[in-house]
Symmetry: C2
Subunit: 341 residues, 2 copies
DNA sequence: GGTCATTATGACAGCGCTAGCCAATGTTCA
DNA sequence: TGAACATTGGCTAGCGCTGTCATAATGACC
């Protein structure tokens, strides 16, 4: 009942070895041979036995996604993207939620790779921002791709997918400036995340371009949480001189700020414009809905996984992998900054 | 470098086969032999090569989680629980997000099982509520465990983990009744989810026990979304005779209702008590925070996976698997119903 | 103590594929 | 035309484990 490589070989009129060559994208297979085999594979709906492949080649056809992120939407979208890439390339995705602050985190990840014989890893913050983890993986010759905040490709950032938080923040700030706001407050996220710093830099740059400077008391650090947004907005809006707009470092903070504003009878967006970041479902569940920056997480993750496959496949030379792609989150204008949406 | 079954056998002074027996919990291994082998495994930190096991036994050590649920928190918690169980039993979890409404969904799931050689599946709604899927899996002799809404074990529900939405809804309603509310409105979820019906039944039962009946116009169906909560609460609160409490079928609906109430200057909980369901992070990000029912998703999922392992393991007789466990979500009282929390 | 039933253990053959090598063909280009 | 190269097949040999079956150890019983 089960279709083996033998059946494919027979149907295609070639040897097992050649089918294997095709399956593994090995070079030196003529185009027409390749097509014949591909057709046979398709016709028989041949699915290679991955256990046998893994065993024989002593490498696995699965990649790992290590995460530690309270933002469920983010995680779901990331794994969705990786899964899409995996399906295309007949890989499997092994997910591994864990505690990033564990002291043995490096060891744990290495063990994961060994135990599940992973072909590589996709790392998101905070794992992608751990230099010692990257070093350990490199030392063990384990392929990995990092998704990190950044705007300028550099040799140091090889095998990275960059998300340009700077430019996105610049765009959001610019949007607020174009609406006539100059008194803009910035509510940062956790400072250990580089994304928060990048977004602040983008904010400052946009102001600077117009000869403006942020008021120091309006650049308030905190954490990426609803509560943190509530508290900071309350303070800002209680002051004598109030900002006319708030740029929150993510949607949760923005929702918190919005909440405080409502409680204090501040009309949104008439008296106060609020912008978030992420375009999480959350940003559509406030009222007014939040202007935000859309991060195409699924696409980013898919791209990262594809990059990983390139790195780990023997047929590719590693030289061309050093290229870096930069994703720029898009501005999404909604009612929290602009009455019409 | 890599430790194989050979190393363990040598260290324990037994044959490879005996180590294999121990690894697979096969019967007829003497206690002292078992201990010797176990010690050796531990000492060497032996990790069996799953590819080899799969190949040799032509069954896999991985289970699948098929889902289609917009609620990211739910999905994350479920997969977390399954993953915990998998780690314990040296299984792997294959996640498979898909579209439940696809016409070929049964075929798709069957192919997934075949392709990834899954040992079994854990199904959550809506997949767990598809009779034709269950039939197809049974016909193909594929092990699966369903997580469904229900309160009474029955032979029909073999290999099910039940979540007692009825009793939880009863508890929530009772909580509102105890606070003195009698004018309670019910905001339902999507009607195709049996959970919504179960919760309504629990609501009605609690009222009935006190000789009360729900007012028909206060039992409003809709969907499990924020917007649906906003709209329905607005209608309710615009009527001449207003409810003094709202039982929303999930936290999103409750948050929407809360939002409408605030807009209409209805004080929470003084003029209107609101309760949700799920205890999602969402329920802590409103203000006041939501009274809700905590569904221990991670535990439920872990339990379901364990049950699946029992079903699919050859060493167990299937008779004892028919037992059904019922999880009852716990009442969590917060400020949206009771001023002090 | 001997016989038989039972349990515990081991030898051996693969699971379905890949790897590496060499030989046998084309195919190309000087 | 010949040499160099690209393409394919045919072998052999596993990968690390499990299944099957034979064998050895143990126990029960008269």
């Amino acid at each position: 009942m089960k279709i083996t490589i033998n059946d494919v070989a027979r149907l295609a009129g070639v040897s097992i070895k050649t089918v294997s060559r095709v399956m593994n994208n090995e070079p030196s297979v003529r185009k027409d041979t390749f097509d014949k085999v591909t057709a046979a594979i398709k016709q028989l709906q041949y699915q290679p036995n991955s256990a046998a492949r893994n065993l024989a080649s002593s490498r696995s056809y699965s990649i790992g996604y290590v995460y530690d992120n309270p933002n469920a939407y983010y995680v779901i979208e990331m794994q969705r993207g990786m899964l899409d890439a995996c399906r295309k390339h007949h890989y499997e995705l092994i997910i591994h939620p864990t505690n990033a602050k564990s002291p043995d985190i490096v060891q744990e990840v290495l063990e994961l790779v060994e135990r599940s014989r992973l072909a590589g890893l996709v790392l998101t913050p905070p794992f992608s921002e751990m230099p010692h983890l990257a070093e350990a993986l490199t030392a063990k010759d384990i392929a990995f791709v990092r998704i990190i905040s950044g705007s300028t490709p550099s040799p140091k950032l090889s095998n990275c997918v960059l998300v340009d938080d700077f430019t996105a923040a610049f765009k959001i700030t610019n949007h607020l400036l174009e609406l006539g706001h100059t008194d803009i407050a910035f509510l940062g996220g956790d400072e250990e995340h580089s994304s928060s710093g990048e977004r602040l830099a983008g904010f400052e740059a946009a102001l600077g371009k117009r000869g403006l400077k942020p008021r120091p008391e309006w650049v308030v650090s905190g954490s990426y949480s609803f509560e943190s947004g509530v508290a900071r907005a309350k303070t800002l809006l209680s002051a004598k001189h109030k900002p006319s707009a708030i740029f929150a470092c993510n949607d949760e903070i923005a929702a918190g700020a919005l909440f405080s504003a409502r409680l204090m009878n501040v009309a949104i967006p008439e008296q106060l414009a609020i912008a978030g970041f992420e375009n999480s479902p959350f940003s559509r569940q406030t009222w007014p809905r939040l202007t935000t920056a859309h991060q195409p997480n699924t696409t980013i993750a898919q791209y990262a996984a594809e990059l990983l496959f390139k790195c780990s496949k023997k047929t590719n030379n590693k030289a061309d992998v050093k290229q870096q792609t930069v994703f720029i989150p898009e501005l999404v204008v909604r009612e929290s900054t602009s009455p019409g949406g």
